[in-house]
Symmetry: C2
Subunit: 149 residues, 2 copies
DNA sequence: TTCCTTGCAAACGATTTGCATTGGA
DNA sequence: TCCAATGCAAATCGTTTGCAAGGAA
């Protein structure tokens, strides 16, 4: 559940890719490295600005491959743009705090007891509709400290 | 917080639109009526199938207008498709349970004490990053009863 | 050699927009 | 009359794909 150490991360990724006979190429490493050092989910365009050496189509292909094998998680922001971040087994489980004013996204890592409480609530909710819970996403929106001034 | 009575709904909508000098036309009523009777957020294509009389471009325009004045809320599914549902002040606050197998989305209305607990947790999380909470979305994914058989 | 990868350009598909027309207050 | 609303076609734009060339094992 907790994040993989930074040094081990690339080895973990390489290993996971190898299981699928997929190479951990320079372009893919650049994507993972970039996502490792920036906060919040990034769009293809965001990443393209940071690794201008990789053409967009290749970037999209890398993102697809990495998401397919579970190294990245993909979701869509309020504008429908696809955004990517390192998957939870690499990043650690976390939630998002989105500023409705500036769009900034902050990662929030709940303390273990808060997280436990969330799970309990979710299990409650799920049992009422007889679902088998796999995962959950909590996204909180509000005004960030910078914008509230 | 609770849902507006079905009969009052259209009056509420008409009122809200009137504040913006926007007419509550047949097409818009069809959209609202459809969203009122189907479960879960609907895509433009979904809605178009149900109200085939309205061309897609007009449908998109209705959806945009209705979302802009806060009658509909818009979000994107895992494929990036825009989906719409009646806003919370009309629908009542609720969360989503998404089946990862068949894609079905179920609305979940948390009991008031569960909801209170969620808010407490969120306020906790938010205070740690000094955000001013406005809203929250909890999306739980798992296997629905039909798919688990 | 074998197959995964990459680049470029073309194709796609959801959504948006220009413009002339229609319709309600 | 006046201005919002509509329909149609064309344009946008993020994303995907075909295909030929490149590269690692």
């Amino acid at each position: 559940m907790s994040a993989v150490a930074s040094q081990e991360l690339h080895e973990e990724v390489r290993r996971r890719l190898a299981e699928h006979d997929i190479r951990y190429t320079g372009g893919r490493q650049a994507v993972v490295r970039t996502l490792q050092r920036v906060e919040g989910p990034q769009s293809a365009a965001d990443l393209h600005k940071r690794v201008r050496s990789i053409p967009l189509s290749s970037l999209y292909r890398s993102l697809m491959v990495l998401a397919d094998v579970g190294i990245l998680s993909k979701h869509h922001d309020s504008d429908g743009l696809a955004r990517f971040e390192l998957a939870e087994w690499l990043m650690g489980h976390h939630h998002h705090m989105v500023c409705t004013s500036c769009g900034r996204v902050e990662d929030i890592e709940p303390s273990s007891d808060v997280e436990a409480a969330i799970r309990r609530l979710i299990d409650d909710l799920a049992s009422s509709v007889d679902y088998q819970v796999e995962d959950h996403v909590l996204e909180v929106s509000g005004i960030c400290p910078a914008c509230s001034k």
